[in-house]
Structures are given as structure tokens and as C-alpha cells.
């Protein structure tokens, strides 16, 4: 899901990067206000976890690969705004040092994996968890579904970003300037990889690590309500 440079038009990159500026600002404000100093190492370990889990490429039947992100896990454990920062840092180093995801496309990749993914996953979890106890079967199921939904919505948004390129940007000779596949190819390809494979991995990773964290360090993870969303 790491869009390289050249696949999205500069205007697409600029638009999504601009959208991310207030998101990063808000994330910084909320983390500053609500995260304990003792939780900072956990946010950093969450970022490392996201980086490492993204290195596990899973084969997809069509010959491509996909991977989990770990962002929903961080969102449930430390709050979605902490996940924005943690996943953004991982994506930044991936782009800068390892060429995984473009530099110009950093804003787009952050929008997909560090914003859409943790927030949609987190709200799905909140919707399903109800008043159940952290670590209960229902809470773990809610976390797993949250992971599944979060990564799939992120993949859908990425597929739309890819798919609108040939509709909007065509060279004088009629060939696409950027990503050549339209929505009818991009959406099925991205969704097949994530609906059938990577979504289940994201869900399993989210529930398994949370099960461990809720048991071993309940004081550091926010079991049900998360850090105040929107700074409330």
C-alpha cells in the first residue's frame, strides 16, 4: 500500500499532503495533552512494531504481495491520534531510507495508512466493543474486526487514489501520465489482496497483541475509551 513517487500526480500528492497538515497538528496537540510521559516509549515501540510488521510480505494469489500495518492496534492501545504520529514516523523512515513509498507521495501514504486506517479501525472497534471488559472475547473480537475494517478502508482509499489518475491525467499521445490502471482494475486488485488476506492478518495481529497488552500492562493501554478523541 506504499504508493511510490510517480504513480500519483503532483497535485494529488499536494492535496493529500495538505489534508494531513492539520491532522498532524491535531495529533501533536492531543498527544501533548493526553499521553503520559511514561506512554511515550510505548508509542515509539508501536511505531517500531508497525514498521516491522509491514516488512512481512504475504503472497497474494494474483502474484502480488500485501502486508499488515499494525495501526489499528496502536489506535486502540494508545488512542488514534498517537497512532497517527507513530505510523507517520514509520512511513517517513520507510520512504526516506528504504525507498518504500514515495517522498512526494508521503502525504498520500500517511493519509491512507496513518489516518484512514487507525481512525476507521478505532471507531469500528468502539462501535462493537460496547461496555464489555478489556480482554473479554467481545473486546478481542471488536479489535479484530476493527483491524480488518481499518486496513480494508485504507486499501480502498489507496485504490481510488491510484484509479483516478488515468481519468484525470493523460499525456498528449493519450497514454496515462501516472498510474495507468483505472478504478475498475485498481479497486478489485487492492481489495482482493486486503479483503481476503491482509485484512485477516491485521485483525489477528490487533487482537493478539492487545490480548497480551491488556493482560500484562493494563495501566499503559487505554482499554475501552482510548485517549480522549478530539481532545475532549
Amino acid at each position: 500500500m506504499h504508493i511510490p513517487d510517480g504513480y500519483l500526480s503532483p497535485s494529488t500528492c499536494l492535496t493529500l499532503g495538505t489534508v494531513m497538515l492539520p491532522v498532524w497538528y491535531r495529533a501533536s496537540v492531543v498527544v501533548k495533552k493526553h499521553l503520559d510521559l511514561a506512554q511515550i516509549p510505548f508509542m515509539a515501540m508501536g511505531a517500531v512494531f508497525a514498521f516491522l510488521i509491514m516488512m512481512f510480505n504475504i503472497p497474494i494469489p494474483d502474484g502480488t504481495t500485501a502486508h499488515a500495518v499494525g495501526g489499528v492496534l496502536i489506535a486502540i492501545a494508545l488512542g488514534p491520534w498517537a497512532a497517527v504520529i507513530a505510523v507517520s514516523v514509520a512511513l517517513f523512515i520507510q520512504a526516506l531510507v528504504f525507498g518504500d513509498g514515495g517522498i512526494l507521495a508521503f502525504g498520500a501514504n500517511a493519509f491512507n495508512m496513518a489516518f484512514v486506517l487507525p481512525f476507521t479501525g478505532y471507531y469500528t472497534y468502539q462501535l462493537l466493543v460496547g461496555k464489555s471488559v478489556a480482554g473479554s472475547a467481545r473486546s478481542l473480537m471488536a479489535a479484530a474486526v476493527g483491524g480488518y475494517v481499518g486496513i480494508n478502508l485504507a486499501a480502498l482509499v489507496a485504490a481510488i487514489e491510484f484509479g483516478i489518475q488515468p481519468l484525470l491525467f493523460v499525456a498528449a499521445d493519450g497514454t496515462p501520465l501516472y498510474s495507468p490502471y483505472g478504478l475498475s482494475v485498481a479497486i478489485p486488485a487492492m481489495m482482493m489482496a486486503h479483503l481476503f488476506v491482509a485484512g485477516f492478518v491485521e485483525g489477528a495481529v490487533t487482537a493478539l497483541v492487545l490480548k497480551f497488552a491488556w493482560r500484562t500492562s493494563p495501566e499503559l493501554v487505554r482499554p475501552i475509551n482510548g485517549i480522549a478523541v478530539g481532545g475532549k
Binding site: 510517480g6 511515550i40 516488512m55 518504500d100 514515495g102 489482496a193
Partner: protein, 110 residues
């Protein structure tokens, strides 16, 4: 905290397994793969392909050589290097946010 750290070390040691899968993620093809698939490279992709060269592209460390084993070791060393960098950047930024009474974050004192 120690248990989480050990968990991350184990995960890092397992990363070479993550490079076993053949193929490229959808939409992340390099110029050569696109040429094979289409017979041409879209102009925008061609222009962007050379302007940024990462130190360790695709988690590979070229100084180790070309072999399969070199690829696995490079992937693992990339996991270690990336983890260190990401831990440092995230915790420094987190501490910066928590500790500074920055005027940049309007009205968010302490």
C-alpha cells in the same frame, strides 16, 4: 516494557521470512516491471523514478553483495536500522511534545 522489547527483537529476527514472498505489492512496481507489463513507462513514473535514491532501496544493502543470503541479511539489518531510527524519532518527538511549553501548540500548556 522489557517483554514488549523482547517481542520486537523476535519480530525483527523473523523479518527475513517476510521477504520470501515473490512479487511486488500492487501498484508498487519498478520501471522494469512496468515495461514488462505494458511495453512502456508512463511519463510521470519515468520522471519520478530517478529523482530520489534511498540509501537502502527495498531494504537491501548493496555492500553485502548480490546473493540470496546477502538479501536476507540486508533485510534483517534494514529491520534493525529502521527500528532504531523510528524508535528514536518517535520518542524524541513525543518527549518534545510532552516537555516543551511550545507556543506553537496554542493554548496547550503542559
Amino acid at each position: 516494557m522489557r517483554r514488549y522489547f523482547i517481542g520486537l527483537v523476535v519480530l525483527a529476527m523473523l523479518t527475513p521470512l517476510g521477504s520470501l514472498a515473490e512479487g511486488t505489492a500492487w501498484g508498487e512496481w519498478g520501471a522494469d516491471e512496468l515495461t514488462t507489463a505494458f511495453g512502456y513507462i508512463p511519463q510521470g513514473i519515468e520522471q519520478a523514478s530517478s529523482w530520489w535514491t534511498a540509501a537502502f532501496p527495498d531494504y537491501s544493502m548493496s555492500f553485502l553483495g548480490d546473493g540470496v543470503m546477502a538479501g536476507k541479511i540486508g533485510y534483517f539489518l534494514s529491520a534493525v536500522l529502521g527500528s532504531g531510527l523510528i524508535y528514536a524519532v518517535t520518542s524524541l518527538y513525543g518527549k518534545f511534545l510532552r516537555k516543551t511549553d511550545s507556543k506553537f501548540f496554542l493554548g496547550q500548556k503542559g
